[in-house]
């Protein structure tokens, strides 16, 4: 419990720091008076602008502005989008599912492809499959997701008309086929790089694990290879994979920001970029906070998961 408490304190500190930075950096943007932006550009009366500044503590030091924003956020009041004239909470409610599904599908697709490939490459190290898969993985790692996205659009949208060039979000339960059809290309564009990372990591750990005594014992007992690989060797080989998957949430957020732009997919990533250009301060702050929370919470969950996966960690923490 002490460990959990320590982690929770760290989570809160990270969240406070990231939100403060987002507020601070946005105030440094040139050519943007937050009061005018918050008014939607329709208020020109200096008195009215002064009222807005007072209401949002814009006339106070940045720390006070940030404190006020955090206080309102905790109460669930994220303010109003100046660009769209709707509440920030409503905007996020509309956009979050798109990004969540995109991130989830990317992770699932990456792992579904990477795990069998990584396991097989480790099972037959330095053979043809291992070498080819290594080369392909390095190749995929070197191709940025925006290049993959353009190539996918060129072939699957413009040439074969299978998938849309401009994706739209459809609810999974409202229109499952269109949901998948619209999210598949962005998912693949994001997943390509991840597959390579996951596969290489799993392969390396698996090779080490397969040299352990308990694996030799399992082989000596005549257990089938598949059982040895997936029941005995796989679990202890997944630490690096799980860590990478968690840390990659950050990279995935970056990837989603790019692919949502390229496919005009209305998610939080696109909303963030649009908010920067629109000088939509409150939306940007909310998006940054949301991404920070997602990143920190996932990493926190992974930390907790280590204990579940490996009893040695649980015991070590208990002793500490």
């Amino acid at each position: 419990m002490r460990y959990v408490r320590q982690k929770l304190v760290q989570v809160v500190i990270v969240l406070l720091a990231t939100t403060f930075l987002s507020v601070f950096l946005m105030r440094q943007v040139k050519g943007a008076d937050p009061a005018i932006a918050i008014s939607g550009g329709l208020v020109s009366d200096p008195k009215a602008l002064e009222e807005i500044r007072h209401k949002w503590s814009l006339d106070k030091p940045i720390v006070v502005q940030w404190g006020r924003w955090v206080k309102n956020m905790v109460k669930g009041d994220l303010g109003q989008s100046s660009a769209f004239n709707v509440s920030v909470a409503d905007l996020l409610r509309q956009r979050v599912p798109t990004t969540l599904y995109l991130m989830l599908y990317t992770q699932v697709l990456s792992l579904l492809i990477a795990i069998p490939l990584g396991v097989y490459a480790a099972y037959r190290p330095n053979r043809l499959f291992d070498r080819v898969s290594s080369s392909v993985a390095f190749g995929l790692l070197s191709v940025p997701n925006f290049v993959v996205a353009v190539v996918l659009v060129l072939f699957f949208s413009l040439k074969f008309h299978i998938f849309p060039a401009q994706s739209t979000y459809y609810g999974l339960f409202n229109n499952p086929s269109e949901h998948i059809r619209n999210l598949l290309l962005p998912t693949v564009a994001n997943a390509v790089g991840q597959v390579a990372v996951y596969m290489r990591l799993l392969r390396a750990d698996m090779v080490t694990t397969l040299q352990n005594d308990f694996i030799t014992m399992a082989r000596a007992k005549g257990l089938p290879s598949s059982r040895i690989l997936f029941r005995h060797a796989f679990r202890p080989s997944t630490f690096s994979l799980i860590t990478a998957a968690a840390v990659n949430v950050g990279a995935l957020i970056g990837g989603v920001v790019i692919t949502e732009q390229l496919f005009a997919l209305p998610g939080v990533g696109k909303l963030t970029v649009d908010a920067i250009f629109r000088r939509d301060f409150l939306v940007l702050q909310a998006c940054v906070a949301l991404f920070a929370i997602a990143f920190v919470v996932v990493n926190f969950a992974v930390d907790m998961a280590y204990a579940f996966i490996d009893p040695r960690i649980r015991h070590a923490r208990a002793l500490a």
């Binding site: 939607g40 849309p164 401009q166």
Partner: protein, 585 residues
């Protein structure tokens, strides 16, 4: 005349902020020699017609794009439209920063009191009649009977008065009708508008955003904070269904719409329209090619050149007349700004290579502009005297300024987040730096860009504006009355130009009913702009509206009595009505 089909060059350019107010024109100008043309691919045409204003007839070239309407259009279907930008402050008519994308979308829900006919007369549309008194100082407008808003509120004098007063008090559009002094209800169906001086061209404003009619019940609820400003309620052919900011506006067929086509078929034909915001030009074009959307609008040279190659697959309507000018807007009103100095402004005109801009970012499509009046407009001149590309002359002026002030002129260059606009501004930056300017680029999203222009928070913006036919339509953009009295005031005269010569000519043109005199005034405004270098014209915009071959009826909207409308977007090119669109099987 035909459009110039230019060589294909890499790159693209899209000038940016087209602001509010679709002041769609009734035309003027005398027997003009116009280089502007319009074509439709594959149905092409161009003809001469007469423009009638205040009793005088003048020849003006027009785009003719109409194919004969079919008496049995196919009913039903969903049209998916790709538009270039989101609107700020959706959807209260008096608040919308309404560019082409906004006009295209909002006109599915809202209708204006008037519209412009193919022979350039401003005729009643939602109104039943619009009549002036003898000296054009009182306009009596009768509401069309039997029309109701989507929420059941009757369309009557009260509704018209409510909307007009909203417009009058709007900081955004109010300045355009600053000469309106009184708006009053005469009887249940009649409104009277009194103006401070004779205003023969006033009805043209009723054909714009200012003439849009929103339900007073809804508008009042929005003011009372009990209504949703994004849940638009008008009288139009389509009823609001859903709006996802930055993504889409979906409208559904208005089952009780007041209009039928000339064959007696109930309008509209479509069941619904989804209008998607796809800001990136390439993604929008790809979306049409991939079949994700059915129709789009674009000013992007590369896209237009590209779609011209596939006229059977993607027929395209092009609008090259009365269009906007793509130019660099200069804010001359900031205290201490080097742009207050005529030498600096003219040096910038000399420094910027227009043809290089067109070649690099518009695939060589457009014609270099010599002024802010595009071909066909009242006031257009082939040679205005605008300084032409001459870097040596530019350097000379910059050196003189630097020697006098002790520092080189320093300018912040604004661009939207669109790559083409950024490229254009980067090219300009290179030109300017080469002759001794100090520059930096700042990028802003398009709707915020417009807001910053309204507030005067800029020095140099890539811009697109001033479509129209009458010079009076430019009054709001250039008269010093609209230049903003205070530092933070919103001003539609974005450049904060305060030129007594231009003021005087605009005032004369507003009350002038002699078309020859008005044309001379307009031409003199054009010359004064060139002399003072108030802006840097780059090229005249061409709009392309490519669509799937199955989409028909785009330009078939008529007046209620079946008089032909002026066509697509004259005075505000790039927009298209969806009331008469249907899908050919």
């Amino acid at each position: 005349m035909t459009l110039r089909h230019s060589r294909l060059t890499p790159g693209k350019f899209v000038a940016t902020g087209v602001v509010g107010l679709a002041l769609i024109a009734a035309a003027c100008g005398s027997s003009s020699k116009n280089t502007g043309t319009g074509t439709t691919t594959p149905t092409t045409g161009g003809s001469e017609t007469s423009a009638v204003t205040a009793g005088t007839t003048i020849p003006v070239p027009v785009n003719t794009t109409s194919a004969p309407i079919e008496d049995k259009p196919v009913l039903g279907g969903k049209l998916v439209v790709g538009v270039e930008a989101e609107v700020a402050n959706a959807w209260v008519p008096a608040n919308m920063n309404c560019d082409v994308a906004c006009q295209t979308r909002s006109r599915t829900i809202f209708e204006p009191l008037a519209s412009v006919s193919a022979d350039f007369k401003v005729l009643p549309y939602l109104a039943e009649s619009i009549e002036p008194n003898a000296d054009f100082t009182v306009w009596t407008i009768k509401a069309r009977p039997g029309v109701t808003f989507h929420d059941g509120t009757p369309f009557n004098a009260e509704a018209m008065v409510y909307n007009m007063k909203d417009m009058q008090t709007s900081p955004l559009v109010g300045p355009a009708i600053i000469d309106v002094t009184k708006v009053e209800k005469v009887d249940d169906m009649t409104m009277a508008i009194t103006t401070a001086r004779p205003w023969p061209g006033f009805p043209i404003y009723l054909a714009s955003q200012i003439g849009f009619q929103g339900s007073p019940t809804w508008l009042q609820a929005v003011k009372d904070k009990t209504g949703d400003p994004t849940h638009a309620v008008g009288t139009g052919a389509f009823v609001f269904d859903s709006y996802t900011p930055g993504q889409s506006l979906i409208v559904k067929k208005n089952p009780t719409y007041w209009r039928k086509d000339k064959f007696g078929n109930q309008l509209p034909y479509l069941d619904s329209v989804e209008m998607r915001v796809i800001e990136d030009e390439k993604t929008r074009a790809n979306a049409l090619k991939a079949g994700d959307i059915d129709i789009l609008h674009t000013t992007n040279g590369e896209s237009i050149v590209d779609f011209r190659k596939e006229p059977d697959k993607f027929p395209m309507i092009e609008q090259a007349q009365f269009g906007e000018t793509s130019y660099f807007l200069l804010n001359v009103g900031q205290e201490g700004s080097p742009l207050g100095d005529q030498r600096v402004r003219c040096a910038m005109n000399y420094a910027i290579d227009k043809q290089a801009q067109i070649d690099a970012v518009q695939a060589g499509l457009n014609t270099p502009a010599d002024g802010l009046f595009s071909p066909g407009q009242e006031g257009y001149l082939a040679d205005t005297g605008t300084p032409q590309y001459d870097p040596a002359k530019a350097k000379e002026l910059v050196d003189a300024y630097t020697a006098e002030k002790g520092a080189a002129p320093s300018i912040q260059l604004g661009a939207t987040n669109d790559q083409a606009t950024l490229t254009a501004v980067q090219l300009a930056q290179q030109n300017l730096n080469d002759v001794g300017f100090k520059t930096e680029i700042v990028q802003i999203e398009q709707s915020a860009y417009i807001t910053q222009a309204l507030l005067g928070n800029f020095q140099f913006f890539a811009w697109r504006n001033h479509g129209g036919t009458f010079v009076d339509q430019q009054y709001i953009w250039w008269h010093s009355k609209n230049a903003g009295a205070e530092k933070t005031a919103i001003a539609l005269n974005f450049g904060r130009v305060k030129d007594p010569v231009i003021d005087d000519l605009l005032d004369k043109a507003r009350v002038e009913s002699d078309l020859a005199k008005r044309k001379a005034d307009a031409e003199n405004i054009n010359r004064e702009f060139a002399k003072q270098c108030w802006a840097i014209p780059v090229y005249w915009t061409i709009w392309g509206i490519p669509h799937k071959a199955s989409v028909v009826g785009i330009d078939q909207l008529t007046f209620p009595d079946n008089t032909t409308l002026i066509g697509l977007g004259n005075g505000f090119p790039g927009q298209f009505p969806m009331t008469t669109i249907w899908f050919k099987k």
